[in-house]
């Protein structure tokens, strides 16, 4: 065994002595009640339930709308007009109610003469 090994062994022996002095009694260990732990799944389920409850509470209507408020809302809705309604008004542009009379007096249309067909067979 080298000098280093002896040093290590000596340190381990000291550590063992220290631990031996603080070893709990066998019976105490056998009969001890271990600390209860909260499983992660249970904690996650609890957290999910809390978040769900908070969401439900946030979306829940706090008070029913008052009668006056409902009436005012109805009036506002009935007087509402679309912003594009103005486009449908034709104040400048008038649509004529009859067809324009087009007299073609200045325009002479030559008569069309159809070439006379020669009688007989060319053959």
């Amino acid at each position: 065994m080298s000098e280093d090994d002896r040093d290590l062994r000596d340190r381990f022996v000291r550590l063992r002595r220290h631990d031996a002095g603080r070893t709990p009694a066998f019976r105490a260990v056998l009969e001890r009640s271990s600390r209860p732990r909260v499983p992660l799944a249970l904690a996650a389920a609890g957290l999910a339930a809390v978040v769900l409850a908070a969401l439900l509470l946030a979306r829940w209507p706090r008070t029913a709308p008052a009668h006056d408020v409902a009436l005012a809302q109805a009036r506002a809705l009935s007087s509402w007009t679309a912003p594009t309604d103005g486009l449908l008004e034709l104040s400048v542009l008038e649509i004529p109610d009859s067809l324009p009379n087009l007299s073609l007096t200045s325009l002479a249309i030559p008569e069309l003469t159809t070439p006379a067909t020669t009688s007989g067979d060319s053959r």
């Binding site: 040093d7 290590l8 550590l15 631990d19 066998f26 732990r37 499983p39 992660l40």
Partner: protein, 166 residues
């Protein structure tokens, strides 16, 4: 069986402390659970190894289960989120009570080794097991145990040397 367990109690507690990163409360929980497993027949000693090796194997497996359970424990998770674990080993309360400076340095340095290295060194130097017995207990090949032993020892010496210089 209970008398045999009681006879090995001090050594078992030392091993439980090593498996639980010297967390005394966890070590006591682990030791109790291991004893109950042996006594109610969930862990059966078939005589293929010494009772000590068998019991140490049960303690080691139980410690792994407890560490996993503790990691998943909501309280532990919350504590890790709020305050991430510190690298400083001196924060370990079990180390604080080590009156002997050399033992404190050793316990602090051991916590900085890999789990396998720590286990092999503990079994050989603290529990006086042979390397073959340690390998069988840890379920690894003797050659692998030798590697962990050599590397662990070299690292431990370096750490203790730094400690002496510091």
């Amino acid at each position: 069986m209970e008398a045999a367990l009681e006879e090995l109690h001090a050594e078992s507690f030392g091993w439980a402390l090593a498996c639980c990163d010297r967390d005394r409360t966890l070590a006591e929980d682990v030791l109790q659970a291991a004893y109950v497993k042996v006594l109610d027949g969930r862990a059966v000693f078939e005589g293929r190894s010494s009772l000590k090796t068998f019991l140490f194997g049960v303690i080691r497996r139980t410690a792994m289960e407890h560490r996993r359970a503790r990691w998943l424990d909501a309280g532990g998770l919350l504590r890790r989120l709020v305050a991430p674990p510190s690298v400083a080993v001196v924060a370990d309360p079990e180390l604080e009570v080590l009156s002997d400076e050399r033992s404190r340095a050793l316990a602090g340095a051991l916590e900085r080794l890999s789990r396998r290295q720590k286990e092999v060194l503990h079994l050989v130097f603290y529990q006086d097991l042979t390397l073959d017995e340690a390998a069988s207990l840890l379920g690894i090949a003797p050659g692998s145990a030798r590697r962990h032993y050599d590397r662990g020892k070299a690292r431990l010496r370096r750490l203790l040397g730094e400690d002496r210089r510091g």
